[in-house]
Symmetry: C2
Amino acid sequence: MRIMVLGGDGYCGWATALYLSGKGHSVAIVDNFVRRQWDHELGAQTLTPIRPLADRVKAWYELTGRTIDCYNGDVTDYDLLSSLIQECEPEAVIHFAEQRSAPYSMIDRRHAVFTQVNNVVGTLNLLFALREYQPDCHLIKLGTMGEYGTPNIDIEEGYITIEHNGRKDTLPFPKQPGSFYHLSKVHDSHNMMFACKIWGLRATDLNQGVVYGTLTEEVALDEALINRFDYDEVFGTVLNRFCAQAAIGHALTVYGKGGQTRGFLDIRDTVRCIEIACLNPAGRGECRVFNQFTEQFSVLQLAQLTQAAAKELGMRVEIDHHPDPRVEAEEHYYNAKHSKLVDLGLKPHLLSNALLDSLLNIAVKYKDRIDAQLMLPRVNWRSTRNDRRLAMNVATGTPAV
Amino acid sequence: MRIMVLGGDGYCGWATALYLSGKGHSVAIVDNFVRRQWDHELGAQTLTPIRPLADRVKAWYELTGRTIDCYNGDVTDYDLLSSLIQECEPEAVIHFAEQRSAPYSMIDRRHAVFTQVNNVVGTLNLLFALREYQPDCHLIKLGTMGEYGTPNIDIEEGYITIEHNGRKDTLPFPKQPGSFYHLSKVHDSHNMMFACKIWGLRATDLNQGVVYGTLTEEVALDEALINRFDYDEVFGTVLNRFCAQAAIGHALTVYGKGGQTRGFLDIRDTVRCIEIACLNPAGRGECRVFNQFTEQFSVLQLAQLTQAAAKELGMRVEIDHHPDPRVEAEEHYYNAKHSKLVDLGLKPHLLSNALLDSLLNIAVKYKDRIDAQLMLPRVNWRSTRNDRRLAMNVATGTPAV
């Protein structure tokens, strides 16, 4: 299958591109490398020393004989995006090419506006390019479980049947996103549903949970293929961050009570879910929604699991409760359905001690690259100006604040 | 009360600014006059010969002794908007400053992207400016009944209580908007709800129906105060367009079967609803939604009412059914609640023969300004490239196509 991976240099994108290439699909990556630029902006870096994309795909070719075409470009540039769609004639496009961090979107007005314009315009461009040049192509779009918020009823997969005053209809599930980033995904979802309806496009909106892990079978082949492992407060996902904290003896930063419950999944399941979506395309005019996660945990549960796994490895780790920098319920009902991908063949990798050990060992291996300052919560939802730009002390190389 | 009217040179904005000024409020208008520019782009003009804003407010002052401050500016320019908020210190801001036409947003990709970026960024800027400089100010934002689409259940005012699997919650009413413009309003609504939640802002989202009429008591004082009357297929609202068609003996353009049912209101009720919202502000942290319309009609019903009223005035008018250029249900259930504004004191001006006569007479008075070409549907939802730019025949002044 000819598959384009937009944002294929990122955390989920790179793992997905390799997995699909390994399965024999013809893969093309489009990326503008802005994710690497954001690390420079924040003075952060991935725990793992990732290589430039050109080196990564060269290593992949040398190891497997498989080629991945790479294009440098920004999906908000319609001329570029539409010319690539015409050139590649993809049967599926996987759209990871968005700003994906809630805290990044909450830094200040400029970051909020950037996130929404970047994500909304990129997706609009993609919808128009598919309609104009590749209308039968299957769009697989990464959404987020965070679009739903934490309603006091069960969360369905995208749509809910409502009985009201004696009548009934199946409608989009009401959305209560919790950051300007999550809002951008809600905007995308509405735009996609509409484009499928009026133009007969086929789309799958994958409302993904919080991803953890860094190794997939392909990434593990060689150090040159290593994937991102973000541990900073802005881009780090919670379990990865806890493991990095444990590795340097830093207390695990739980926000508030830690009762915030979310859906989680292993990155090995992310890549498999994407393949399942590719192999089972949505129908023409259909905008299908899958909830893409395998297990629910509260943040405190994850902290306790990390603490226990670290103890087994001989590391003593404390848990610190910080005032929650986000505006969110710290205790709430949460029950989100997630059976559609399982029905299509997903065999989940549930969170195990072995996986936690592996994550902790990776964090220990690269612990010299960890900057503890980057893990403390500094982006506060209640403030409209969170200055993330640190003045560096030139003599010591440490933040001057 | 100190009130800012963003978009105060437009159709609803101008009528609102005069009404509030007439009631003794201190009114400041912010407008960048882009609505007038869109007329040039489309080769269209308002039926009524509106004056420049400076002349209008001068005439208002001469007639009433009341001043309205006017600022030229674009709400997507944060420096400008935030400085005006600081200067005016408004107790209420009424936000009309958006691209408000569904067909305009459906012309092509450029217009779709412009509409969403313009509307979303303007509203985000306003939310940030209020949070930073005037956090107690009441934001009154124009939404649209079109955000809801046409679900097969009763439409509530913004929120719906859902019972599901034995649990219950009150959630945002699911949205099924029918154009990239309507989608932009849904994006705004979600952004507003979030900003109220995290920053404690107070907001009223007025989901307005289709407005008809042009005369309010204040506008009627003098020809110099005359309001817009759009009749073209892009910006003309349906009843105004029908009256313009009747005035020149043009068949009324009904799209499809004409069973499309919507909420409608007289512009005299628009201005009163805005005042009611001002006088009864939302609480801190509250994002309140009112459905702002007074009666439901199908498009065919309105065509038949126009036909009958025209006949009384001695005009023979046909009704033409065109293939629907939009993707929408031509027959459907529709029952939208609209009691909250009535509970706060709205006394509706229902659609009467007298009002239809008045509208028809205005259309007849200015019929020499009507271009019949502009009333035929040319923006097709199914196409991504609807060329609205006409080559003009220089010799005849008529379109060359």
